[in-house]
C-alpha cells in the first residue's frame, strides 16, 4: 500500500481555546474590505463539496456492490455536511440575509464556484473513483493547512471535515490501487479515467486574485504550496496502482472557480434545485 500523508491530529485543545477566545467573533467575518474575496472563497469551498457530494450521491441505489453503494452514500453525506458549514459561513460573511440553503438552491450556474473536475459526469466506476482520489488528495492537504487558518471559524470547520476526508482518501486511494493493479479490464478503465480527468486537475492549484487575498489574510494557504504534497501522494498511489501519469498538461481546463462551467453543471442544478425553484420556501 502507498504511504499516505500522515494524518496528524490538529491541536484540538488550542483550536477550541482560540474559538472560545474569539467568542464567535472572527475578525475576518466583519472585515468589509476582505468580504468579497472571503465570500467568494467560502463559496468555492462549499460548492466543491456540494457538487462532488451531489455527483457521488447519484450512485445511491446503483452501486456495483452493496458495500460500495453504502460507502459512496456515506461519502456524499459527509460532503453535504461540509457544504452546510462552508455555505453557512459564506452566508454569514455576506450578511445579506441569505442562508446556506438559499446559496445552494437559488444561485444560477454562473454564480457557482466549484472546480470543473467535480461537475463532470460520473462515467463508470473508474471515473468516479479516480476523480474522488485526485480531489481527496488535494482536499486532504488543503484542509490540513486550513486547520492553521487565521480565521478560527475556518479552522474549526476544517478540523471537523479533515477527520472525514481522511477516510475518503484512505478508501479512494485503496480502490485506485486495487483496480489499477487489478484485471486487464479494470486497469484499462482506470488508466482511461486518469487520462480523461488529468487536464482538469491543475485548476485546484491555479490561484487567482481571490485565492491571493485570502492567502494574504492568512485564512488559506498559498495553493502553490499544496502542489508538491499532492504530487507526492498521487505519484505514490499511481505507481502502486501500476498506472502511468499522463504526459499532457494538467492545467488545460480551468474557469470553474470563476463561474465558467461546463454544460454539465446546469443539469446538476436542474435536478438539485428543482424543488426550491418550483415551490419557493418549501420545507418539511
Amino acid at each position: 500500500m502507498p504511504s499516505l500523508p500522515d494524518a496528524a491530529t490538529p491541536d484540538v485543545v488550542a483550536l477550541a481555546e482560540r474559538a472560545a477566545a474569539a467568542q464567535g467573533h472572527d475578525p475576518h467575518v466583519a472585515d468589509v474590505a476582505l468580504k468579497p474575496a472571503f465570500f467568494d472563497w467560502l463559496c468555492r469551498m462549499g460548492d466543491n463539496s456540494l457538487v462532488l457530494g451531489h455527483r457521488i450521491s447519484e450512485w445511491c441505489g446503483h452501486g456495483p456492490v452493496l458495500e460500495e453503494d453504502i460507502a459512496l452514500a456515506n461519502t456524499a453525506l459527509d460532503l453535504i455536511g461540509h457544504t452546510q458549514m462552508w455555505l453557512g459561513l459564506a452566508a454569514e460573511v455576506e450578511g445579506a440575509g441569505r442562508d446556506a440553503d438559499q446559496l445552494a438552491f437559488l444561485r444560477d450556474a454562473m454564480k457557482f464556484r466549484n472546480l470543473k473536475l467535480l461537475e463532470l459526469p460520473n462515467g463508470d466506476m473508474a471515473v468516479t473513483l479516480m476523480r474522488e482520489f485526485l480531489f481527496d488528495a488535494f482536499h486532504y492537504e488543503l484542509l490540513t493547512a486550513l486547520t492553521r487558518s487565521s480565521s478560527p471559524r475556518v479552522a474549526e470547520i476544517a478540523a471537523k471535515a479533515l477527520k472525514e476526508v481522511s477516510y475518503h482518501l484512505e478508501r479512494s486511494s485503496d480502490l485506485v490501487v486495487r483496480l489499477g493493479d487489478g484485471t486487464e479490464e479494470s486497469h484499462a478503465r482506470m488508466q482511461a479515467a486518469l487520462n480523461k480527468l488529468w487536464p482538469y486537475t491543475g485548476e485546484m492549484f491555479a490561484a487567482d486574485a481571490v485565492d491571493d487575498a485570502v492567502a494574504e489574510a492568512g485564512i488559506a494557504p498559498a495553493l502553490a504550496d499544496l502542489l508538491p504534497l499532492w504530487q507526492r501522494t498521487v505519484a505514490e498511489v499511481l505507481d502502486e496502482a501500476t498506472l502511468v501519469q499522463p504526459e499532457q498538461r494538467f492545467d488545460a481546463q480551468s474557469g470553474g472557480k470563476q463561474g465558467r462551467h461546463t454544460e454539465h453543471l446546469g443539469y446538476i442544478l436542474a435536478e438539485m434545485q428543482f424543488l426550491q425553484r418550483a415551490y419557493p420556501g418549501a420545507s418539511w
Partner: protein
C-alpha cells in the same frame, strides 16, 4: 418573582435520558456529544457537537433535546452547534461501550481513529493490523472488515469468521 432555575447537574441528568435516535441504547450524554450546559441569565444554553458533519440524526437529536427540556419546564432554551474540539469516539463513555456491545455493535477501539498515529494507520492500510475488533455476538477476535462505511456514518461493516454473523463496528473518529 424569580423562578428557581434547575441546576445544571439536574439538566445533565435529564439529557442522560435522551437516547440517540439511531442507537437508542445509548444516550446523547454517553455518546459525548453534549459539550456544555450553562445558564446565561435565565436562558439555558446547551452546546451539542455533531458526530459526523453530515449525520442526518443531528437535527433529530436537537429536536429531542429541546422536547425533553421543554417537558421539564425549561422554556427559555438555546441550542448551540459547537464544532471544536471536534467529536471523537474517545468521548464515548465506558458504560455506553458495554451497552453498544450488548446491542450488537462492537464499540470503538481507542487510538485507532483515522487521524491517529501513522504507524497504526499504515498497519491497517497494509492489512497487518493487530487491531482486534471482537465479535459482539460470540466474542471471537477472528473477524474481518467488510467495509469501512456502514449503516450510518459512524459505523463500519465487519463480519465474524467464527459465528459468520455480520456486525457493525462503531468506528473510531
Amino acid at each position: 418573582m424569580t423562578a428557581v432555575l434547575p441546576s445544571t447537574e439536574q439538566v445533565w441528568d435529564w439529557l442522560g435520558e435522551v437516547p440517540d435516535p439511531e442507537i437508542p441504547v445509548v444516550s446523547v450524554t454517553e455518546l459525548g456529544i453534549v459539550r456544555e450546559v450553562r445558564w446565561e441569565g435565565e436562558t439555558l444554553l446547551v452546546a451539542v457537537t455533531p458526530t459526523y458533519s453530515g449525520c442526518p440524526a443531528t437535527s433529530v437529536i436537537d429536536l429531542m433535546i429541546e422536547t425533553r427540556l421543554r417537558e421539564k419546564g425549561i422554556s427559555d432554551l438555546r441550542l448551540e452547534r459547537r464544532l471544536s474540539p471536534p467529536w471523537t469516539t474517545d468521548w464515548v463513555t465506558d458504560a455506553a461501550r458495554d451497552k453498544l456491545r450488548a446491542y450488537g455493535i462492537a464499540p470503538p477501539v481507542d487510538g485507532t481513529a483515522s487521524d491517529g498515529l501513522m504507524a497504526g494507520r499504515a498497519a491497517r492500510l497494509s492489512g497487518r493490523s493487530n487491531l482486534v475488533i471482537a465479535c459482539p455476538r460470540c466474542g471471537s477476535s477472528h473477524t474481518e472488515r467488510v467495509s469501512q462505511f456502514g449503516s450510518t456514518p459512524c459505523k463500519a461493516s465487519y463480519r465474524c469468521r467464527d459465528c459468520l454473523e455480520p456486525f457493525d463496528y462503531f468506528k473510531c473518529h
